[in-house]
Amino acid sequence: MSRHPSGRALERPGARESKWRALERPGARELNDWITFLGRLARRRTALFGLVVVALVIVTSVAAPLLTPFDPIEQDITQRLKAPGARDAAGRLHPLGTDHLGRDLLARVIYGAQPALLVGFAAVVISGLLGMLAGLTGGYFGGWIDDVLMRLADIQLAFPFILLAIAVIGVLGASLQTIIIVIGVSSWVVYARVVRAAVFSLREREFVQAAQALGSRDGRVVLRHILPNAFTPWLVVATLDMARVIVIESALSFLGLGVQPPTPTWGGMLADGRVYISTAWWLATFPGLAILVTVLGINLFGDGLRDTLDPRLKV
């Protein structure tokens, strides 16, 4: 139902579509906006650096088989715990050394990017969509729906995240899908909060009230007029949240509740490295550096995105 029944008087069949379409933004202008935005983003050198780092990590993970001759799960017990720079019997170089089962560490670090990025991306999509839905609904309708959603958010935030995640994964059993769903379902609150705040202020703007007065249905107002304008803060949160999710994925793997061996994960490699810390420093050092570089790149890019799109956004 329309919130402004008086607006119905304006409705004339046929006339509405042609008359009001002129008010909508033409596609060319949107393209221009994007180019301006990209130009402004590119001028922030740290953001650009972050983007390059992230792009490199993605390319590395996709092109993994081309980048290393070694199989990340192939064991060679004669070559165990070799220091970085060692060569095997065939003369092949282990640039980062080998682990306790003689597997090439560089290959494992490179392949380890795959589960990290996969979980990061998939979980962010799930929590982003859930949060967007909750934020739009709560922010637009307000009232008891909003109250219920915000209390659910409070409940969600009351849990120490990692502890809840490992408790649930402990019951369900660790697998790629479980991890993605558990992280995805329990990370919606930040998205809901920023979208809700944006919707609150958009709701009072003239173009939204005009659309309501013209008799647009709630669904159309939300999708056509509010969503595009609430998308910016959502995107910034999604970018920065991906960094957090990657750290959580590694933490779960570190505790043995992530993607299971023999699949190489950065967290799992760190757990191995911790066991051999007094004899093989490289085992724990390099996977951690990989996490640090990836997360730093995402954070730099996300910060730049925020400063370019909406410097007042506090996320």
């Binding site: 209390r151 659910l152 409070d154 409940i155 935030l157 009351a158 849990f159 120490p160 995240f161 990692i162 502890l163 809840l164 490992i166 408790a167 649930v168 402990g170 019951v171 369900l172 960094a243 750290v247 590694s250 933490a251 570190f254 505790l255 043995g256 509740l257 967290g267 760190l270 490295g273 911790r274 810390i277 007094s278 420093w281 724990a284 050092t285 996977p287 951690g288 996490i291 640090l292 997360v295 730093l296 954070n299 730099l300």
Partner: protein, 305 residues
């Protein structure tokens, strides 16, 4: 004021109810709590008998009611592994977790607030850049890696500090740095941006125009207002610290609730898991309630909302 407090209190009770429901529900995720609690090789007879004694045949809400009343009295059942009440095990380890989280928070505040202020006052100088870069690195570094690297450097290579256990301040130092770094980074950035915002306001210019010297302007006039968001985030950060303690305690073999719960999950000792998750969450809710109440004294505008 009284209405606000009452509403806030009611909210906390509601949140705790929700928390208890989720904690209870964890056991039902696979559909059958008996299979979660019993070892995988339990016979069908054992399972049926266990169901009967534990009351798993009752309606779901009856079971939840029983769990809730138990939880209110601190009764989460017996630990499967230790044969002691699960809640007692958690409470025994609570002081260790508080000690670690408290030390991490104190460390974070002592480092972050001065760093953030200096960064804002000396904006775009070398000091600002160094503090910004360190904060950024601190926010991007996974806790568990930092912990392992600190052990590698200070325990294995230099042999200066112990790598595990709880005892005097030397045992506390590495875990507190590990746990506190992320919070330090976050509060540094928050203090910097808050100070920058406040320093550009009219009343600061007025104070300077009146001839107030620089140090009192920064430390008295500006910090008072920049402190408001910091107080809120301290409550929220405590949640991060309690959650982060799970990892840090595991790395440094710190005998706290976090390590207890990780071991309980490995041992499928779910009464302990439930007691730990509930107790840590309840602590977080209570701390935030206290912070919110303190907040109304700091910022009277909040009461009017």
């Amino acid at each position: 004021m009284r209405v606000y407090l009452l509403r806030r209190l009611l909210q906390s009770v509601l949140v705790l109810l929700g928390v208890s429901f989720v904690v209870f529900g964890i056991l039902f995720l696979t559909g059958d709590p008996a299979l979660v609690l019993l070892p995988p090789d339990a016979s069908a007879e054992d399972v049926a008998k266990f169901r009967q004694t534990m009351g798993f045949n009752d309606p779901f809400l009856v079971q939840y009611g029983r769990f809730l009343f138990g939880a209110l009295r601190g009764d989460f059942g017996q630990s499967v592994r230790h044969g002691e009440p699960a809640f007692d095990l958690v409470m025994e380890r609570m002081p260790a977790t508080f000690e670690l989280s408290g030390a991490a928070l104190a460390l974070a505040l002592c480092l972050a607030i001065p760093a953030g202020i200096v960064s804002a006052v000396r904006r775009n100088t070398v000091l600002d850049y160094v503090s910004t870069v360190v904060a950024l690195l601190g926010q991007s570094m996974p806790t568990f890696w930092l912990g392992i690297m600190l052990i590698l450097l200070f325990s294995v290579q230099l042999n200066l500090l112990p790598s595990s256990g709880r005892g005097d301040w030397q045992n506390l130092l590495l875990p507190a740095i590990t746990l506190g770094l992320f919070t330090t980074a976050r509060i540094t950035r928050l203090t910097r941006s808050g100070m920058l915002e406040v320093l550009s306001q009219d009343y600061i210019r007025t104070a300077r125009a009146k001839g107030v010297a620089n140090p009192p302007v920064v430390w008295k006039h500006a910090l008072k207002n920049a402190a408001i968001p910091i107080v809120t985030i301290v409550g929220i950060e405590l949640g991060t610290l309690l959650g982060g303690s799970v990892i840090t305690e595991t790395i440094f073999a710190w005998p706290g609730v976090g390590r207890l719960s990780v071991q309980a999950i490995y041992n499928r000792d779910y009464p302990v898991v439930q007691a730990a998750v509930f107790t840590l969450s309840a602590t977080f809710v209570l701390v935030n309630l206290v912070v919110d109440v303190l907040y109304t004294y700091l910022d009277p505008r909040i009461r009017l909302r």
